[in-house]
């Protein structure tokens, strides 16, 4: 009953300030909009779980040196393959390195890969898709067929081919994954561009003498950006899995950098007797991918009114 009463009562204080229909300033209106967006997002409990997972990941990455109980690169062969204990919370691997600390430091690598891939792939996709959609004709045909060619390969296989030619390493893995990730954004951006290219305000800018590039960069791209962002959050899990796959095959981050895929690879040889060595980073990959997927779903429901 008390719950009902509290919803019926007029909101007071900060909530009233946020929910007012007549905001006093642009800043207040923006805060109110953000608050309403948060309320819509919070209605989806799975989305909140996803957000929590991602926040924990961000926290681990930011404060890794303080959270980790040991240096993940220090080897102690007398303590190899230990099960979980008070000293080594999640045990040690076959070099005697602390798994928990490696996991915490590995979150930095994971975030580094995800962020860098998005920073490279999203603008490329946006540029290709918007140009193809706006200019049309042969430009469209050529660019979209190139996109289709990239689409027609399985992602990991294509990334493997790129890393094989570039040489193994963390940055090359990022480039390889980015090269396989942009076509999805190009498709989304092209679809959005086709929807706005015939509109009157584009015609109006053309009568003002704007060049094609100016129109694409300043008038078309800002309108396709929200769809690309939603698509990107849904893509993060895939990027993490591809990165872990490359790490597992020894083509991603090189030892001694703690990387989750490479950690599974190390634990693989002892998987029957000391299962936790491989299982712990595997669980980490699983949970973080799930977290990004749940967050992406939640965000899409808030940002894309067409879906609901």
């Amino acid at each position: 009953m008390s719950g009902n009463e509290s919803t019926l009562a007029a909101p007071v204080g900060l909530k009233a300030w946020l929910m007012t229909d007549t905001p006093g300033s642009g800043w207040q209106a923006a805060c109110g909009r953000a608050y309403r967006g948060w309320r819509a997002f919070a209605r989806n409990p799975m989305g909140v779980v996803g957000l929590a997972i991602v926040l924990i990941l961000l926290f681990c990455a930011a404060f890794a040196p303080w959270i980790a109980t040991a240096d993940p690169t220090v080897q102690d062969l007398s303590l190899r393959l230990q099960p979980s204990s008070a000293e080594h919370w999640l045990g040690t691997d076959r070099m005697g390195r602390d798994t928990f600390s490696a996991l915490v430091y590995g979150s930095r690598v994971t975030l580094y890969i995800v962020a860098l891939v998005l920073v490279i792939a999203a603008p490329i996709g946006l540029l290709v898709g918007s140009s193809a959609g706006y200019i049309g004709g042969w430009t469209d045909k050529v660019l979209m067929r190139i996109t289709d060619i990239f689409f027609s390969f399985p992602r990991l296989v294509l990334a493997l081919a790129f890393v094989a030619s570039l040489g193994p390493g963390l940055n090359n893995a990022v480039i390889a994954i980015a090269l396989t990730a942009w076509p999805a954004y190009a498709r989304v951006a092209r679809a959005e561009t086709l929807a706005v290219r015939k509109s009157d305000f584009i015609a109006a800018v053309r009568t003002q003498g704007a060049s094609n590039w100016r129109i694409i960069f300043r008038h078309v791209m800002p309108l396709s950006l929200p769809s690309v962002i939603v698509r990107a959050t849904l893509d993060m899990a895939g990027i993490i899995l591809t990165a872990a796959g490359l790490g597992f095959l020894g083509l991603g981050a090189q030892p001694p950098t703690p990387e989750w895929g490479a950690m599974i690879s190390v634990g693989r040889e002892n998987i029957l007797d000391q299962w936790w060595v491989a299982a712990v980073p595997g669980m980490a990959i699983f949970i973080v991918s799930l977290g990004f997927n749940l967050l992406g779903d939640g965000l899409r429901d808030v940002l894309d009114p067409k879906m609901t």
Binding site: G26, Q208, G209, A210, H219
Partner: protein, 283 residues
Amino acid sequence: MIISDQPLLQIENLSVRYITPTGVVDALRNVSFELGREKLGVVGESGSGKSTLGRAILRLIPRPGEVSADRLAFMGQDLNGMSETEMRRIRGKQITMILQDPKFSLNPVMKAGDQILEALSIHGHINRREGRMRVIEILKAVRIRDPERVYNAYIHELSGGMGQRVMTAMMVVTNPMLLIADEPTSALDVTVRMQVLAIIDDLVTQRGMGLIFISHDLNLVGSFCDRILIMYGGRIVESSRASELHNCKHPYTRGLLESLPSIEHPKDVLATLKRDPAWLMAP
């Protein structure tokens, strides 16, 4: 530099045709006229080629449209032979076009002021502070009372009349020589319409621009413009001084005039236009 007796715009035998799989559509047929520093009204029914005329002058006919003209000259410069880059320097700087509905012709995710600034920055670099001042100035010139607020407003936050004034500001801020207004008031209600017209009139007179005013409202054009072209089926069927509109002889013009209700000479039944296929041929 500018020779006063040289016409602003000279058009001879301008034709626009769309070649489609189902046949050739003639949107404009051999249109010829000259324009000085005056207000020229272009009137006709829907599909008579009025808007196509405006777009053809700016060379913005989309594919698969084809434009041909014996002469299409703006202040002595041949627009027809210009490259796309040269054309872009003309568009927005020397010839601009106000579009019909501000709700659709302004970018929904850009602040109104920034869109006006866009016109300035396309044609020459300008620093933000100076640009902002010129935008505020032009917003005042189109009689917007709180230009600071409108500068930071998005189009959905403005009324239709305000939106059309922003659009007008956007098109005159570069001080063009020729302004094409494509039904600038048909999306507005009657009282706001008169305000917007008065603003356009003032700007055109003060700055000595030429104006091509495209409309389907014969009365409005008759009272607002100096000279009127009547279009039908992509052709100019008649040209007349606005003051002598009632003396027009072409049966299409007569038909248009007779189908208008008048408060001084009420009629029980208004005349209906009877279209004659022969009008499409040469007069």
